[in-house]
């Protein structure tokens, strides 16, 4: 499945700030803990299609845990930058 938004679980500290800014309110707290002991957030498969790639979650996230891609329809060819490169 194509996910426009991904959370790097090793980075997420479960602060929930992204949840408060997502216009579609599709981000939720999972029940998983990461290796650092933090609960992490997720966008469940059921709702992921509702993601508008607005990147609000990424902008507010203090821990660089969110990657967001434009929906393919809008993406121009050749632009495939990996968010976390460099």
């Amino acid at each position: 499945m194509m996910r426009p938004v991904e959370f790097r679980e090793d980075r997420c500290k479960g602060c929930a700030l992204c949840m408060t800014v997502c216009p579609g309110e599709i981000i939720t707290m999972s029940s998983r803990f990461n290796t650092s002991g933090y609960k992490v957030v997720e966008v469940r498969d059921e709702v992921v299609e509702e993601c508008t790639s607005c990147a609000a979650c990424a902008l507010i996230c203090p821990d660089y845990a969110v990657s967001v891609w434009r929906k393919p329809a809008k993406a121009k060819k050749g632009e495939t930058a990996d968010v976390h490169a460099g």
């Binding site: 996910r3 602060c15 700030l17 949840m19 790639s53 203090p62 990657s67 891609w69 993406a75 930058a81």
Partner: protein, 260 residues
């Protein structure tokens, strides 16, 4: 969707490692905005970062630029020395409110007054984060901290200091603004302000100063979400956002520009 176009890209100058900050701590956002501006203005090769003493002391681990650690409060003096020694460098400090507004008050005021061509990024979280949440000059009246356990009392400890207003009033300041990163809109505006705070000295106009209101959930004893709400509910009303000075020829109406 990794081969879609990124809707959000981390700046290359930002090291891709986990931060040491507490969950929800907005130092993470503030330093990302600095990194984004360094990238956008293509400054990483000529940037020199003056780190300060506070929770951001490890900023040199995150920003891949030449860095030096200043004693507590003295970053503006160190920046002066660096900039005068290397006029071609893009010199900036990153300081907390205890560092900049308390012990470093004189260095901050005089760096601004001389109009040093440096950028000061000032992260105001109304508390001494690193040392365990003591009162800062910016602590709100009534706010409880470990050294004002009954809440800051204006009569005894004074009112929270508004640094941006003071810095804007000094002759050497070319740009001064206060921003927040508590909402997406504010993050976008903050980014603009940080950028201008870098541009002003690079345009040889004087000091660039940006105050970023930020949370310290740990020492505020709040969840990150509660802490973030406090920014708009309590902090912004007292510390109004806006551009307080801008010599770069743009409209500089107070309280408007960088908020938009």
């Amino acid at each position: 969707m990794k081969n879609g176009k990124a809707a959000f890209t981390l700046p290359g100058v930002l090291a891709d490692i986990p931060t040491h900050y507490c969950p929800g701590c907005q130092h993470g956002v503030a330093q990302r905005l600095v990194a984004e501006c360094l990238d956008e203005l293509a400054l990483s090769e000529k940037a020199i970062c003056i780190g300060s003493i506070g929770c951001s002391v490890f900023i040199y681990n995150y920003l891949k630029v030449d860095s030096v650690e200043a004693p507590h409060g003295r970053a503006p003096a160190v920046a002066t020395g660096v900039k005068r020694a290397r006029p071609e460098a893009a010199v900036f400090t990153y300081q907390g409110d205890g560092d900049l507004a308390s012990i470093g008050m004189a260095e901050t005021m005089h760096c601004a007054n001389r109009g040093e061509r440096v950028t000061i990024v000032f992260v105001n979280n109304t508390v001494y984060g690193m040392t365990g949440g003591q009162m800062a000059p910016t602590t709100m009246v009534g706010q409880r901290t470990t050294t004002c356990p009954g809440g800051r009392c204006a009569d005894n400890e004074g009112e929270p200091i508004k640094m941006t207003e003071i810095i804007a009033s000094l002759g050497g300041t070319a740009y001064a603004a206060r921003v927040a990163v508590d909402s997406v809109k504010h993050v976008r505006a903050a980014k603009k302000a940080v950028r201008r705070a870098f541009e002003a000295p690079l345009n040889n106009l004087g000091l660039g100063f940006v105050e970023i209101l930020a949370t310290c959930p740990t020492n505020w004893k709040m969840t990150p979400v509660q802490a973030n709400k406090r920014i708009s509910e309590e902090l912004i009303p007292y510390f109004p956002l806006g551009t307080y000075k801008n010599l770069m020829g743009e409209q500089a109406a107070e309280g408007t520009e960088v908020e938009g």
